[in-house]
């Protein structure tokens, strides 16, 4: 019996998506402690990615005025990243952080040994600040 798959783009039908190993490719390249390449960053100073079984956790240290501010992702989802630059295959992690006054929807990927995080920050308070997007780069400390 053949199964008809719903799709909205040809990419949805990529046979590689049914390969059970597709969300474990290159996972070992992401696990560890990552340090911001910009020593003067006003954003995230470091990121730690851990894996327990099929579950991932992402924590970070935000630059604060009186020491680092702890970030802990409420949800982390692995996504197959089959079309990374230069034929690199791996995973991307979608990690969401919720501080009440602000949420950060992020994705993290490794490109040629550099961890890249893109943050879409949305404010929920009445401070008048603009929602904003940032991108930062990290090297592996371990």
């Amino acid at each position: 019996m053949t199964q008809t798959l719903d799709f909205k783009q040809i990419r949805d039908l990529d046979q590689a998506l049914i390969d059970l190993d597709v969300t474990s490719i290159g996972v070992d390249r992401m696990i560890g402690r990552w340090i911001n390449t910009d020593a003067q960053t006003r954003g995230l100073q470091e990121i730690t990615i851990k894996q327990t079984g099929a579950q991932f956790s992402v924590s970070a240290a935000g630059a604060g005025t009186n020491g680092p501010i702890e970030w802990a992702a409420q949800s982390v989802r692995p996504l197959a990243n089959l079309e990374e630059e230069a034929g690199q295959r791996g995973i991307t992690l979608a990690a969401d952080f919720d501080f009440g006054f602000m949420k950060a929807e992020t994705y993290l990927r490794v490109n040629k040994g550099v961890l890249v995080i893109v943050l879409f920050n949305s404010f929920r308070d009445e401070s008048g600040r603009s929602d904003y997007v940032t991108r930062e780069f990290f090297y592996c400390a371990e």
């Binding site: 990419r11 954003g43 996504l79 979608a94 009440g100 602000m102 600040r129």
Partner: protein, 138 residues
């Protein structure tokens, strides 16, 4: 003012409550990769409240119209009033796409986070592609 990283902080004197300048977004954005198997074209239009985004993706028999979604816009900093990115969601029932776009040097860098909600056992996936704004000047 609460912040989770110093760059979230904005002094009261730099708070700008003017509307966000979204003039860089409307238009037709074309995927730089003519061989893409995904989103081929994006049309961003001004709507009653904010901006709307329509996607056309590659199908086996031509482009597939995903319909229209409302987008949330982002600046480049908490004090910026110029659009540097956007996000929006498409829900198809069997799958959902969360699109996150950044404008970089005139290019739209679009990340698609695709989640399957059916029983097909397909892995959720991520793809990042580049789009250029059609300007018809040359």
């Amino acid at each position: 003012m609460e912040f989770a990283q110093i760059c979230d902080f904005v002094g009261p004197e730099t708070i700008n409550r003017a509307p966000m300048d979204v003039s860089g977004l409307p238009g037709v954005w074309i995927n730089s990769n003519p061989e893409t198997n995904g989103i081929a074209r994006i049309v961003i239009s001004e709507a009653d409240e904010g901006l709307s985004l329509q996607v056309y993706a590659m199908g086996p028999d031509g482009l597939i119209d995903w319909g229209v979604a409302t987008i949330q816009v982002y600046g480049s900093s908490p004090s910026s009033r110029t659009t540097a990115g956007f996000s929006c969601r498409f829900n198809f029932g069997f799958a959902e796409s969360f699109l996150q776009g950044m404008i970089m040097k005139g290019l739209l860098v679009l990340a698609e986070l695709r989640t399957f909600k059916d029983q097909s056992n397909r892995a959720d996936y991520f793809v990042r592609e580049y789009f250029a704004l059609e300007h018809q000047r040359y």
